[in-house]
Symmetry: C2
Subunit: 201 residues, 2 copies
Amino acid sequence: MTTTTGTEASSAGSAAQRERRKRILDATIALASEGGFDAVQMRTVADDAEVALGTLYRYFPSKIHLLVSALDREFERAERRTAELAVPGDTPHERVMFILGRTTAALQKSPLLTEAMVRAFMFADASVAGEIHQVGTRLITMISRAMTGSPYHSQATEEEAAIVRVISDVWLAALVGWVTGRTTAEDVEKQIDVAVRLLLR
Amino acid sequence: MTTTTGTEASSAGSAAQRERRKRILDATIALASEGGFDAVQMRTVADDAEVALGTLYRYFPSKIHLLVSALDREFERAERRTAELAVPGDTPHERVMFILGRTTAALQKSPLLTEAMVRAFMFADASVAGEIHQVGTRLITMISRAMTGSPYHSQATEEEAAIVRVISDVWLAALVGWVTGRTTAEDVEKQIDVAVRLLLR
DNA sequence: ACAGAGGGTAGAACGTGTTTCAATTCTACA
DNA sequence: TGTAGAATTGAAACACGTTCTACCCTCTGT
């Protein structure tokens, strides 16, 4: 098993390899943005990224790995953009809603991309555990930061951690509902707001 | 579009058709129980149910429809078995945990069947909205009954309904984690317990 | 210089979900 | 009873994720 994996995936390997990896993820995101999950076809991704199909599979062992990795990269970028900023809002409720609201709005601007990534995330099986955990951790970190209001990793209590997990569950469920057309965009916001209000009181 | 669909799916059509539908779902559940999502292959289901592949697709337009319909039938049966019984427990928390705990335990007895159904449920796209909604409604009803403690549909308040939805989100998320090997069986129980405690206080 | 190894490429091949179609059987109704 | 239309069948074909094969570069250690 020589495949790059996990945390240091994007920094491992030669410059050419990092470049290939980037091209693959770029192509993935472009295709997903235009046509959603179904439009991300492995042959097309390989062509667009100018790598052979076999190479694509060497970097990402399945379509699901590929899309979840793309999701992780997007999250990582969003994280980096806002890591050192303090979250505005006077109460935990306000701050959490600010963060989730902004993230949700961003996702709703590219519905097809979101559909592709969310469906991959939900369909992932045990073999994608590493990537899934990575994304889950980022999500938890993001919400925790918003709750405490500090950009630094202040140690959360057991109870706070539990609350954060519940919020992330609700957020994902709402997102799935929206992606599959069962729920409107405003409903997502409202569902989260209700959950956060119930939990942070 | 003559396909049987939605609520009255199992009662519509001739006796022979109901019989075919039943055979198909039986075969689906048998295969899923033995080998999970991947073992439910459309050709095999058709063979086992003794219908042609085309007929299978007339009844269920995709593998996902098929599995979600199977999930719905299982839920419906569970519902019927317990519809008129009062839920034991002195507090909403106890009652909700009783119901979810028992259901979770039942699902954990057939891990592969559960894996197949849960993954189909989470992967479903907009075309499965009807079946998904059906299952979601059953789930909500079940939890509501447990919360109020009455077998009858006492009108829930806005707030109660919101709580129920959050609980069902958490339950599904925990189930997904378990199905994909990210979480142990006890964790599922614990996660739900924490969420219910946070919400019902 | 050279052999070997590892990654890359092109393309065929395989498995399974889905579609299609001609032929047959069933069902409802005049 | 006869017949039109719907449902079912069997089998082939298609699409796309995934795997496999044969070959080519480019390094690296001797």
